[in-house]
């Protein structure tokens, strides 16, 4: 046993006498000391990626914060056109999908293949329900002429048909486009993350059906779970900011 193999072989194997004994599982990389260290490194890497995602969405949240303060009446009027019932339903759906994803990680830990496939499939279904409800909302906004750059009309904000809504001056009503621009940018980016996530889930169901994650190698499921929960957290903040806080201002 030369010095290189001693340095790269887990210590419990040192006395085995075999040259470069492969007693460790195939998924464990040689540059890690043990499985725990490999999982720690994988989680750390995933979290660093998620921090860059926080900064990415954070820029949009910061723009929302500043512009909402500048054009407060426009943002309130824009926000009040959204459907709170659909927004709340979607929040519950997304929290449900986070729960099924967490259970998928548990199933992989317990090495239960059928249960893992079941929970990954449920996560896909709930993801599609979320995108579907979002699609219904976007369609409504298109029909109400609230899509900046494609079809936008300030009519509803200058001469509201709802007697309780406060009419805006035309120059302030123009600023509702900023609200809807940020609304579509933020919900659109969030939906794009979900579509990427759903695509990865299809791939993972296929890999799981071949037993890839139920023989001890749970890192891919766990790291995907972190991504999925992160997307859930983004929506947890989008929901009150876009739908709720302007109701009584």
């Amino acid at each position: 046993m030369d010095s290189t193999s001693i340095a790269t072989t887990p210590h419990e194997l040192e006395s085995s006498g075999l040259p470069h004994a492969h007693d460790h599982p195939a998924f464990m990389r040689h540059h890690f000391e043990d499985i725990g260290q490999q999982r720690e490194a994988a989680s750390f890497g995933m979290w660093v990626f998620l921090l860059t995602e926080i900064m990415f969405f954070g820029g949009l949240f910061c723009a929302y914060l500043i512009l909402r303060n500048w054009y407060h009446p426009a943002f309130v009027a824009g926000s009040n056109t959204l459907n709170i019932a659909l927004g709340t339903t979607n929040t519950a759906v997304l929290i449900g999908s986070s729960f099924t994803m967490a259970m998928a990680v548990y199933s992989a830990e317990m090495r239960r293949k059928g249960q893992l496939i079941l929970f990954l499939t449920l996560t896909i279904l709930l993801g599609f329900v979320f995108i579907g409800i979002k699609g219904v909302e976007w369609t409504t906004e298109y029909q109400e002429q609230h899509v900046p750059g494609i079809n936008f009309s300030i009519q509803e904000f200058v001469h509201p048909t709802n007697p309780k809504a406060i009419p805006l001056a035309p120059d302030m009503a123009e600023k509702t486009q900023l609200y809807f621009f940020l609304y579509f940018a933020m919900t659109g980016m969030h939906a794009l993350h979900m579509i990427i996530g759903i695509s990865l889930l299809f791939f993972m169901v296929w890999r799981a059906s071949r037993g890839a994650y139920t023989a001890g190698h749970v890192i891919p499921v766990e790291n995907f779970g972190l991504y999925w929960h992160f997307v859930d957290i983004v929506w947890i903040f989008l929901f009150p900011l876009l739908y709720l806080i302007s109701r009584y201002r």
Binding site: E33, E40, L50, M55, G58, M103
Partner: protein, 107 residues
């Protein structure tokens, strides 16, 4: 391969979170969602936004701590998450100090 090294890695041993914990967090998140929607229908002035964001922060903390296992993770991961949030808050604060103070002295 010192003893010290080995014990360090055992600290990073994976803690498998049990389904009852996930159920409890799922239930708490649904209750908080219902609560934040309910409160938005009551006129509380500026506190509508404060309470909605406080509930959102609470929900996000539950997700990070339990669904994302940070409560059971090593200090390295806890510090990573904290460093990210700190940097984000720092960038937001610096940007806001600029926007808040731009008009100072112009009235």
């Amino acid at each position: 391969m010192t003893e010290k090294n080995i014990s360090t890695h055992q600290d990073a041993e994976v803690h498998v979170v049990k389904p009852p914990v996930y159920f409890a967090i799922f239930f708490a998140l649904l209750v908080l969602t219902a609560l934040t929607t309910g409160i938005s229908f009551i006129d509380l002035g500026v506190f509508n936004a404060v309470i909605a964001l406080a509930i959102a922060c609470l929900k996000a903390s539950l997700v990070v701590l339990f669904f994302m296992h940070i409560h059971y993770s090593s200090r390295l991961l806890k510090l990573t998450v904290a460093a990210g949030l700190f940097t984000f808050m720092l960038l937001i604060s610096l940007t806001m100090t600029d926007y808040i103070s731009r008009a100072w002295g112009m009235f």
